[in-house]
Symmetry: C2
Subunit: 126 residues, 2 copies
DNA sequence: CAGCATCCCTCTGGATACTG
DNA sequence: CAGTATCCAGAGGGATGCTG
């Protein structure tokens, strides 16, 4: 049930606001915050693989996610400008989700993170 | 009290294990997991700025962090191979923390994330 | 100074039921 | 099909007190 938990938070006050060159902590923290949520990554990558996705499709492919959480996460990434929600106003309901430009541009960054991970299986312990 | 929360988790099972080219979700999730924790970033960046840091110094500079959490996070990043703990076995106690090679190598990635953030103030909503 | 143990509170996520 | 409202359980973080 708990695959890989990751609780992340950021202060961005303290002296931390000036930690990096100009607020690296705050910036990185914001992005990590947008990725916070058990299914944010799966959702983003799925959208990266498919031009558009429907709620039911997400539910079907990520079988263990609840609809409430899916909607919640979808709303989050939408609010963060990563995903765009398009309602076709049909009956029965037809809604599609797509990556926005910002969402697409985030992928290279995530892939860079992935490369880091691949280069450091156990974090590099060296 | 709550500056920027970020709850993040990853499934890495489901079909999600194959989401990206070969498990992008799992890889990215792992890294984000290592950065999960309200003070992980501040700690890492502080260490990036200073060759070494002592507990008391962290406590002093990140005034609102509790010692319990500091130790907890320090243990986490140490376990993840990002930070190295060096005990001088002195009296009074003298312990120093430094970024490991893996820790240093993570920084460029974090800076890339920061750049993304700088380029997308509101996530780019375009 | 560095670290551990305890109690408590909040946030997030999951299960379920219901609406349009 | 898409989404909302409740209730509930678990993880993480904060405050405080104590040890070597």
């Amino acid at each position: 049930m708990n695959d890989a938990i990751t609780h992340f938070k950021v202060p961005m006050n303290e002296g931390s606001a000036c930690l990096g060159p100009d607020g690296s902590v705050a910036h990185v923290g914001r992005v990590l915050g947008m990725l916070s949520g058990r299914w944010k990554l799966p959702i983003l990558f799925r959208l990266f693989a498919s031009p558009s996705m429907r709620s039911s499709q997400f539910l079907r492919e990520m079988s263990s996610i609840s609809q409430k959480v899916l909607t919640q996460h979808l709303r989050d990434v939408e609010a963060d400008g990563l995903v765009e929600r398009r309602d076709f106003h049909e009956q029965p309901p037809h809604v599609e989700y797509r990556l926005t430009r910002a969402g697409h541009e985030l992928m290279p960054v995530l892939l860079a993170v992935r490369e880091y991970s691949r280069s450091h299986p156990t974090a590099g312990q060296g």
